[in-house]
């Protein structure tokens, strides 16, 4: 293996973006993966910021970022970089023919699987929920045998958020998929990806769906990162077509992943799959190599720079066996939780405050170098991105994928 300019560890959204930005800059990139990230869990939306302090939704994503405390990754990185990162992502999507809409100056609203309206920032065109405000008639589509998509609950909630004066209609579609397991939205998406599946679905909607209405579906408009099925259905039914967020496995998360992998392939990124990084060789504050554990033995990979994108507790990037001793297993970066046990979590699941455990992570400088206990940079060529970082609760703030995008961009531009 020839030495790389940069090794990215982790293939979640942060890792793939860090590899994309590095490769675009002409670097020789090796991406080391262990698992395929959380893409099936997150609908592929890029939330930037909706609730910076408490449950009050900020006026715009950029306003929200300005209101954040200093320790937040966005604050360290700066709003200019946030804007550049968003620009990079949108350009990438354009190049891959799956453009996303949105900007940091305005919230975009998407319809959730429960029929609530959720603010986000960057959205595929199939999920732009604003269209529901403009049209009079909303048609909710359910599928027989599909689990986790209840259009009656959705209708009730939509009536609350959008008003009862709109016309709500429900249609159940039969997918002629062979008998077997319960269906997921991904199964339906694969079915609609076939000509026969599409025609079967269209036949059941034609005549029932009135022109100029909004047809609301779970994430089923194909599995590829393109708008072919969405475009075709809009034309065939002469109406607006909208996808909601959904429960795993979410087709649009997988579309986002496919798009990024396609971009990486075009930019000659080398991938080493299923290799768990277990340690590093460091001399004079410089990482020389990382060590993987593969099926048979350990192997070293050398590079000039390293980007750590291994995730938080869920992804294995942070580990805790005994409270409150938290470990970052590859570079042994100190991670501290300073509070007492009782401060670890708000016991209320839907608390009005951020969760302390969610904000635990690696401390960095503005270039995303990790810092030691005394606040000094001790690894000059290592950068930390995504859920490894401290100071944010993506779930509460609604910054999921946003901090990942911005930190990945900053790290990959910092050398």
């Amino acid at each position: 293996m020839i030495k790389s300019d940069v090794i990215v560890i982790g293939a979640g959204f942060a890792g793939l973006m860090a590899a994309a930005v590095s490769a675009k800059r002409g670097k020789k990139v090796t991406l080391i993966t262990y698992g395929s990230g959380t893409f099936p869990l997150n609908s592929g939306l890029i939330d930037i910021m909706a609730m910076p302090i408490n449950e009050t939704i900020c006026a715009t994503p950029i306003d929200g970022i300005e209101a954040l405390p200093e320790a937040h990754p966005y604050k360290k990185i700066g709003t200019d970089i946030v804007a550049n990162a968003v620009g990079f992502f949108k350009e990438l999507c354009e190049q891959e023919n799956y453009p996303y809409s949105g900007s940091i100056d305005k919230h975009q609203w998407v319809v959730t699987a429960l029929g609530t309206m959720k603010p986000t920032c960057l959205v595929p065109k199939t999920m732009l929920g604003d269209i529901c405000l403009k049209q009079e008639e909303l048609i909710l589509i359910g599928f027989n045998r599909l689990k986790d998509h209840y259009i009656n609950i959705m209708e009730e909630n939509l009536q609350q958020s959008l008003g009862k004066n709109k016309i709500y209609t429900s249609i159940m579609v039969d997918a002629d998929i062979d008998a077997g397991r319960d269906l997921s939205a991904l199964d339906i998406a694969r079915w609609l990806n076939t000509e026969q599946g599409y025609e079967c679905c269209l036949k059941q909607l034609r005549g029932v769906v009135k022109a100029n209405s909004v047809v609301i579906l779970p994430q089923v408009l194909g599995i590829k990162p393109d708008y072919a099925i969405w475009d075709k259905m809009k034309k065939d039914l002469q109406c607006e077509i909208l996808e909601t967020t959904g429960l795993p496995p979410a087709a649009n998360g997988l579309r986002l992943r496919s798009m990024l992998l396609s971009y990486l392939k075009k930019h000659n990124v080398t991938m080493v799959e299923n290799a768990k990084v277990i340690g590093s060789t460091v001399e004079n504050q410089k990482c020389l190599a990382i060590t993987t554990q593969n099926a048979a033995r350990e192997r070293k990979y050398q590079a000039d720079h390293f980007i750590l994108a291994t995730g938080g507790f869920y992804g294995g990037g942070l580990q805790m066996e005994t409270f409150p001793i938290i470990k970052e297993p590859i570079f042994n970066i100190p991670v501290q939780f300073t509070g007492q046990d009782e401060a670890w979590a708000n016991e209320k699941l839907f608390s009005s405050q951020k969760q302390p455990f969610a904000e635990v992570g690696v401390l960095t400088d503005d270039k995303l170098h990790p810092l030691d206990g005394a606040g000094n940079c001790f690894l000059n060529n290592v950068f930390v991105v995504g859920r490894n970082l401290s100071g944010y609760d993506f779930c509460f703030e609604q910054s999921g994928n946003g901090v990942a995008l911005v930190s990945a961009y900053q790290a990959a531009m910092s050398f």
Partner: protein, 404 residues
């Protein structure tokens, strides 16, 4: 993938039900009859106390291991499936079909003892297929059976006069290269000689056991594993690396033995087992890979076998081939080919297997090349069957490039 230190049964508890394995499972995508890796291996293996029998759709798992590649939590998903399948057949009878597909090694060994044994074995398979006899017992009739070579690799190897070098490697040919595709083994010997290695072949090696594991003959697989492990230990004690040109054999020796069975030397042996291209790439890192190439040039498309991707070593063949001047190799990057060892040879799994391979076949046809490169023997059979394009092992391209 469970690391070698972990018991795969224990890794079931790491499953967070994130659905990654379901989204990347090619069989789940091809048929709604399979409930998906998550519900079979990890979930069912934890429910055994409540329901003694296996999940009904367990038979659909092809052990391709894409679930393991996608799992972020280190669950040995496919191995949990195979352990369950083995457990199921402790109390259920195997169909004749499975017996035949699992014991190819024994059958050809018996046939080779007869004059023109391989010829009659091929003829028999062909007649069996054309008369519908194979279909009747559940073997795919639309697919040609693998042809046996006139002379096995071992028979040909005995006749080679090798140059002697102090550096030696032990070659584990595996059934497919030995019986069906000996050219790969012969190319391997030439390439090693070009890199100043002498090749040792231990004729006592038996089938790695992969076809036995996937059909649920776990005890027989364990017996093979014990035989091979003892032989390999003898060589590794002398410091000789063990090389294979078959990614399913190397995966078995490196990882699956240690996941499935529990006896001494498995972990220690694994450290000495290499995929041939992985080993050659290491030589390149050490600046002792012979790059005196004179290839006449050409364009190829490369298919990475799933059983290579899961090994966590990247795609060493692609890196090696990039060192040969005048040739262009495109990575197909189109997922599983669908055959998964003997899975695609089952009559009732044939359509699934072809459906899984569609994307790859399409990519190959679009590439308009006349040769595909892939490290796995059954992948090559599937590629030739599904796309009509000839497929060879990367070591054969290297062999040609040395112009020998």
């Amino acid at each position: 993938m469970g690391t070698l230190e972990e018991n795969p049964k224990g890794t079931a508890d790491y499953c967070t039900a994130c659905t990654s394995c379901i989204t990347t499972c090619p069989v789940t995508a091809a048929t709604s009859k399979f409930r998906g890796p998550k519900l079979v291996g990890p979930a069912q293996s934890r429910m055994n106390f409540a329901e003694p029998d296996a999940e009904a759709s367990l038979e659909y798992c092809s052990n391709c291991k894409n679930c393991d590649i996608s799992c972020p939590s280190g669950v040995a998903v496919s191995t949990l499936n195979m352990l369950q399948r083995g457990e199921y057949y402790r109390s259920h009878t195997h169909p004749l079909r499975d017996h035949i597909l699992a014991h190819g090694e024994q059958m050809i060994k018996m046939a080779r003892k007869l004059p023109f044994g391989s010829f009659f074995a091929n003829l028999g398979a062909d007649i069996g297929r054309k008369t519908g006899m194979l279909k009747k017992i559940g073997i795919a009739s639309k697919r040609p059976m693998p042809k046996y070579a006139n002379k096995s690799f071992l028979q040909q190897f005995r006749a080679i006069k090798q140059k002697s070098y102090s550096d030696k490697v032990v070659f584990f040919p595996g059934c497919y290269i030995n019986e069906n595709d000996p050219d790969v083994g012969m190319a391997f010997v030439k390439v090693m000689q070009q890199n100043q290695y002498e090749v040792i072949v231990d004729e006592k090696f038996v089938c790695c056991g992969s076809p036995l594991v996937v059909t649920g003959y776990l005890d027989e697989a364990e017996a093979n594993a014990r035989t091979n492990t003892e032989l390999i230990r003898k060589w590794t004690k002398q410091g000789y690396p063990i090389l294979t040109c078959c990614t399913s054999c190397s995966l078995m020796l490196k990882q699956e033995y240690a996941e499935l069975f529990d006896f001494p030397d498995l972990h220690e042996n694994a450290k000495f087992v290499y995929d041939a291209c992985e080993f050659l790439l290491d030589l390149h890192d050490k600046n002792r890979f012979n790059q005196d190439f004179q290839h006449e040039g050409g364009s190829y498309i490369y298919h990475a076998p799933c059983h290579l991707r899961v090994q966590g070593i990247g795609l060493p063949a692609l890196e090696l081939l990039s060192l040969i001047p005048n040739i262009a190799v495109e990575n197909a990057d189109a997922g599983c080919c669908g055959i998964s060892g003997n899975y695609g040879f089952k009559e009732d799994k044939y359509e699934i297997s072809m459906q899984v391979g569609q994307e790859l076949f399409q990519r190959i046809k679009e590439a308009s090349v006349d040769t595909v490169i892939s490290d796995c023997g059954t992948c090559r059979m599937q590629i030739e069957h599904g796309s009509g394009v000839k497929a060879i092992h990367p070591i054969e391209v290297l062999g040609e490039a040395y112009h020998i």
